[in-house]
């Protein structure tokens, strides 16, 4: 083994410093926001809060917890996420299974129909008019239906189904199982890994989404918590009435915003360590198999 050269050791040192900096820069906003959420408004204002709460108190948490609108919106997020993910999983699984049948007549067309939408889309205005004219406004369907299939997820699932041994399905067919039976009783039980990954992908993206609800929901009691948070932020920084009022608004806002950010991010952050590797492998699968 050759002894590492001096310049290489210097490089390793510099590299360590850079990566440490990356970690610090990434984590600092999180740590700071958590510290702020437990701090007194005066201490936040004075800039005393950095890594640790100053003037520790739970008042802001109490205020947010007592806000019935916050809880209603939180419940909406859960509800929208569940419904949207269920719809998306059914449609994506069905189509991916069909596309995975290499000998199916017209398969190329079916693939093309999906892939083309990755490169050209209708745009905001026609979509808005469509959803409005279909009468989906102010219902969960305005969120669930327009995003029912992510083509990326579709192709990941298709690739997985293609990798299953076809002999199993042929045997099941000989035993008299219908296509539906094969999908439900043979293919899906063998595909738990990819199904779980896809559920995860959809859940996180619906949990995080806000714009659909922002566009199609007219009443604040129908909003998901992301829009609740967005309205808080917009209220505190909206330059529309910039001036004295902005200062007052943000005065009230700083710690409430911090608490809301923490509570909204909490579910994702707490499952993150356990699900991260599924995401990474899902992305790899999508990339490799195409």
């Amino acid at each position: 083994m050759v002894k590492p050269s001096r310049s290489y050791r210097v490089f390793q040192g510099v590299n360590g410093v850079i990566l440490t900096l990356v970690v610090v820069v990434t984590l600092y906003p999180f740590v700071n926001i958590v510290a702020r959420s437990f701090s007194g408004e005066r201490q936040i204002r004075a800039g005393e809060v950095t890594l640790w709460p100053k003037g520790f108190n739970l008042t802001t948490y109490k205020i947010v917890f007592q806000d019935s609108m916050f809880w209603r919106n939180y419940g909406n997020t859960v509800f929208y996420t569940l419904v949207s993910t269920a719809v998306a999983m059914v449609l994506t699984t069905c189509y991916a299974y069909v596309l995975s049948k290499k000998n199916l007549r017209g398969r190329g067309v079916l693939v093309g129909v999906a892939v083309f939408t990755m490169f050209f889309t209708g745009g905001l205005i026609p979509n808005y008019i469509l959803v409005t004219e279909l009468g989906l406004k102010n219902s969960v369907w305005a969120i669930a239906l327009p995003n029912a299939i992510s083509v990326f997820n579709l192709l990941v699932m298709k690739a997985f189904f293609e990798s299953l041994p076809s002999e199993l399905e042929e045997a099941a067919q000989i035993d008299g199982l219908s296509t539906y039976g094969i999908l439900l009783r043979i293919v899906l039980p063998l595909s738990k890994a990819v199904v779980a990954t896809m559920v995860l992908f959809y859940t996180v993206s619906f949990w995080n989404s806000w714009f659909g609800a922002f566009l199609y929901m007219d009443r604040s009691d129908l909003m998901p918590v992301t829009v609740y948070l967005r309205n808080l932020i917009a209220g505190a920084t909206g330059g529309g009435n910039a001036g004295a009022t902005t200062a007052e608004l943000s005065q009230v806002g700083a710690s409430i915003q911090a608490v809301t950010i923490v509570l909204t991010a909490l579910p994702i952050i707490s499952v993150y360590p356990f699900v991260q590797r599924y995401f990474v492998s899902g992305v790899m699968l999508g990339a490799v198999k195409g």
Partner: protein, 326 residues
Amino acid sequence: MSTSTKSAAPPPSVEDPPTPTLRPAPRGGWRRSLRRDWQLYSLAVLPLLFFLVFRYLPMIGNVIAFRRFEPGGSMFGEDWVGLRYVRMFLSDPTFWQVFRNTLWLGGLTLVFCFPIPIVLALLLNEVRRRSLKRFVQSVSYLPHFLSIVIVAGLTLQMLATDGPVNHALGWLGHDEVRFIQEPGWFRTIYVGSEIWQTAGWGTILYLAALTTIDEDLYEAARIDGANRWQQIWHVTLPGIRPTMITLLILNIGTFMAVGFEKVLLLYNPLTYPTADVISTYVYRTGVESNSFSYAAAIGLFEAVIGLVLITSANTLSRRTVGTSLW
């Protein structure tokens, strides 16, 4: 196309051509296929309906860019007005401002957000302690999983007049900066938060590509007397080149569609001069001011430029380096 190219294309347009597989299609044509596979086809009905209604119908819906649309009327508009709305936006000074802003933000995003993941992946690749490498990776992926609303909220909190950045400036004896209200700061803030959110996640495909490089190549390079830098230059970078090109094409393809949601969350009327982009302008004129046809015309213009960009980037790359998405 090389295998490593395939490993790089996330939206897998690397698709089987529409021409069917080697096995000849079952004899008897469509009627027979339908009879044999009707259950399979039935599974495709609802998804196809989804694509037709929620993807292709809006594409056709773009005809309102050339027709007068009346709220409550047909979604395809009332009567033809030709290029009236196109001429309108071409002579609209606000349009040209948002067009310039779009190019600025798109260009800056491309210049900064494309290379940084490559550098980060190279640095991570040099880390010998596996646990350390994994830790840095896990931390840097984290922002990718958060809602854009949270990212915007964190950004605004960090940059508030009483936020950490301003306090750091205060310690350095610098005056308070009103980052959020100053048009001059918007581009920096936008690109900075974009890097914060996407840099780590962007390394995944590069790190995957790096593991496929043959160790023997490094061995050979060392025997030829290559030092560390030369190894990176002559072995590592060529090894991940297909990945780089694929991601570059994709980045160029999304050039015009600069983070609409993020701009919408971060900007305010004070920063419109630098922050307002085509898509936010479309949103305001269409959804907020009900000028649907006018907004659709601008949106269509944007989509067409995007399509032209990705097609030409793809063609260019296929001609010059032999790597392409399709």
